[in-house]
Symmetry: C2
């Protein structure tokens, strides 16, 4: 690594870790050169690099400012696991459906959507690859590629694990209908109805729906908006409630965008191993990092086979193809059999198309461009929220993924905001759908994975106006 | 309908209904002409037509003989539902997996397989259609075609229902990952763990696995090998045990091949309606009829929305694509929501490829050829079993589908046959995997959906020899 790259990385880390907040000015080139004992040109090169990565930008005559990073984080949700009442029957699915169904019309501005814009993906190249591979397909593949799945695809996935420093043999991998099927199968593999599942709070609503549907109970553990789940609270919960599984997103958690540091992942896996609780790791956003390299999954620190890693191509390559996978550690055989009796197999043409795409190369080039686009989008969205929303609003600016978690001014009800916004043709994801207790009533999740244009800018302006109005009503 | 077609249909019905058994001679042309008061040429034309359909064949100088139809049916399983013990925890999945996994190697002769040969399907034409449709696909379809599924595909499916005389609006249809997902979702929509499900006996093992996996109990009702479930026994079971659902195949049941007559379907739906028990109707073989027209599903007789009809393209058009559907009557919304939280969506490229294929036409032409091939295959398989298996063997010859249900001589154990056959590289499906009580120890299911060749002929010969040996051991 060259000296200027080293310097850029150090600064990038400081930004990601919140030491340098968005809006702050960086040291001048002269100051940095003196402090770091490097030539001014090294500093210049480092700043150029950071600018290209979207982390800082130059303002005329005033120097460089942090434009990515973290500013005004929402507060840590209050710890709330110290009494038994916190193990709850989950009953949020109806609300989730009500919200999601209201936002599916195409003309609605999709700030509440869970999907990034399909226009960000190489759909034409994928289609071409699929056309070639399905026309060359041996008909017997339709039998042989049923679960655990196409051998070449599993080999390609194992190769990517290897490159990221995780040892996963192809034999451990089960191809699934998107990550969601993998997560559901993993949950079913290690729980019985009535069991308790440890989750973060806030959490992705699909986890809540799955827990509810499988007759399980949820136990919330608070999550820090930057570093993920609170390990001390997790330890208390493990001791008191003996959950059958833990279901978490480690990288760019939905909705928080939190990125659990590697050391913390390691500690968490050790903790869960001590308590013999399997970890269902939802890692669908891991490839969408804005930093220097892919954050490791908790799976990387697993020595006993307790981590059931789930991921997919839906959010980073091939939306709608419904190809995901799981590497379920010591539960691999159980999960494979569950898959066989649930959906038998993942669509074979989709499997062989993705195997062929991965083999050809070009995935990493696409990912680099996708990450860059998402980061630039984040800067625009954050900037617009800051301009249009009332004082007292706080928000994350995660170092990956495509969600902002926005704390509205105290007392502003996000379900009211949701209903009012919908009348203006704008969807948002209100906080209560991310909680087994329907908490987070003054939070919303905004999707910045849709291409910035006047309609979106105007939608954020409208949301800001409605929030102003709701805040004024509360004050009155 | 022309006169000779009418005559051919009458004879075909007599064969299917067992009035004319396989091996019997038909009346001479002169006799038939006199008896039916039609010209000899009308009789000739009718016989030609039946020969083309594979139901009869001419033997030199001896006239026409029945080659299709029914001969030597296995006995009706003994009624066995009169005591509470018959509601059972199901624990057969392990055995099913053990059997299925042992038969997956490509070089094993697949008489135990659940799939027909993929070479029987228009894979090249499908691939071409998929290539064109995926390359013309609007990227937004990846979002819009999530569950309930692609609008054009649902419209095409609704059109086929209409042609078959069943009223199903496109809005009721949910596209699933093969029929298996549809069946599982329907079961989950109407049951809670601990509930009882009424099934036929023998029954398709995937139903048993699904019941087991969902923590349900099974209640067996005996099935007639030609006409399906015993309605009197069903009525007693409904009254005594109050099941939450009934799961059945009405057309060409796996493994029996039984076809429930229309009147019986109507009576069954009325019976279930009176008891307010939803019917999960697995109709994946309905298109594979050898008669004159598609047998109706029970869904056709449903007036109250209690029939949850499940089908797919996997067995009749597009193996490996994993596109099925369900029309779940009054439970449509519940099933759609379950689908959203289970796998979110069926692979979009596969959905639009099939929509495009159906729209273009050609499906019915393919189906006619497929049915004809399967019927010819059945004749060869039945003939080979009759030549090679010992006395005391009995078998079905169903009027659709691609399975034979073979009763071995008394006391011959089909699991022993399975293990011995596997050593010769031959798979079979032993009877016990089709029973919640692991009954049918002297039955096997043979798949005649693989293209007849010397290897298959020799495999049946080997199976016959092993059976002879096992029968001799029992006798000794």
């Amino acid at each position: 690594m060259k000296r200027y790259e080293q310097l850029a990385d150090d600064i990038a880390r400081s930004i990601r870790e919140g030491l340098l907040a968005r809006g702050e000015r960086l040291p001048s080139v002269r100051q940095a050169s003196a402090a770091r004992k490097v030539s001014p040109s090294t500093v210049f090169q480092a700043y150029y690099l950071l600018e290209a990565r979207g982390l800082i930008s130059a303002r005329e005559r005033s120097g460089y400012f942090v434009t990515g990073g973290v500013l005004g984080l929402p507060p840590l949700p209050e710890p709330s696991i110290n009494d038994d009442a916190e193990v709850t029957e989950v009953d949020v699915s109806e609300l989730v459906f009500e919200v999601l169904e209201s936002t599916r019309a195409r003309k609605v501005v999709p700030l509440g959507s869970a999907f990034p814009s399909p226009l960000l993906f190489p759909m034409a190249r994928l289609a071409k690859t699929m056309a070639a591979s399905v026309q060359a397909m041996n008909p017997w593949r339709s039998v042989e590629d049923i679960s655990p799945g196409d051998a070449e695809l599993r080999r390609q996935i194992a190769l990517r694990y290897m490159i990221d420093g995780v040892q996963v043999p192809p034999d451990e991998i089960v191809i699934t209908n998107g990550a969601l099927e993998g997560l559901n199968l993993c949950l079913q593999a290690v729980t019985q109805p009535g069991d308790t599942v440890l989750i973060g709070s806030p959490t992705f609503y699909a986890a809540l729906q799955s827990i509810e549907r499988n007759g399980l109970k949820a136990m919330d553990v608070p999550c820090h908006p930057r570093e993920g789940i609170d390990l001390a609270a997790m330890e208390r919960a493990l001791t008191q409630h003996k959950p059958s599984a833990c279901w978490l997103m480690t990288n760019f958690q939905n909705p928080l965008g939190s990125l659990m540091p590697d050391e913390k992942k390691k500690d968490m896996v050790a903790l869960l191993t001590r308590h013999n609780v399997p970890l269902i790791e939802d890692d669908v956003y891991g490839e969408l990092y804005f930093g220097d390299k892919r954050p490791k999954p908790a799976k990387a620190f697993d020595t006993k086979g307790i981590v059931m890693h789930c991921a997919s191509f839906s959010k980073c390559l091939a939306p709608g193809y419904r190809v995901g996978w799981t590497a379920p550690g010591r539960y691999a055989k159980t999960v494979e059999r569950l898959k066989l009796t649930t959906t038998l197999s993942t669509s074979v043409p989709a499997q062989i198309a993705l195997a062929s795409y991965l083999k050809k190369g070009g995935y990493d080039r696409h990912l680099r461009s996708l990450r860059h686009t998402l980061l630039l989008q984040q800067i625009k969205f954050v900037d617009a929220v800051e301009r249009h929303f009332p004082e007292g609003t706080r928000l994350t600016s995660p170092s990956g993924g495509y969600f902002l978690w926005v704390k509205l001014p105290d007392g502003v009800n996000s379900l009211e905001l949701h209903r009012a916004a919908l009348k203006h043709g704008i969807s948002i994801a209100p906080g209560p759908i991310f909680s087994s207790h329907k908490k987070y009533t003054d939070y919303v999740r905004l999707n910045y994975g849709h291409i910035w244009d006047d309609q979106i800018e105007s939608a954020i302006e409208t949301l800001g106006k409605i929030t102003h109005k709701l805040a004024a009503q509360k004050a009155a």
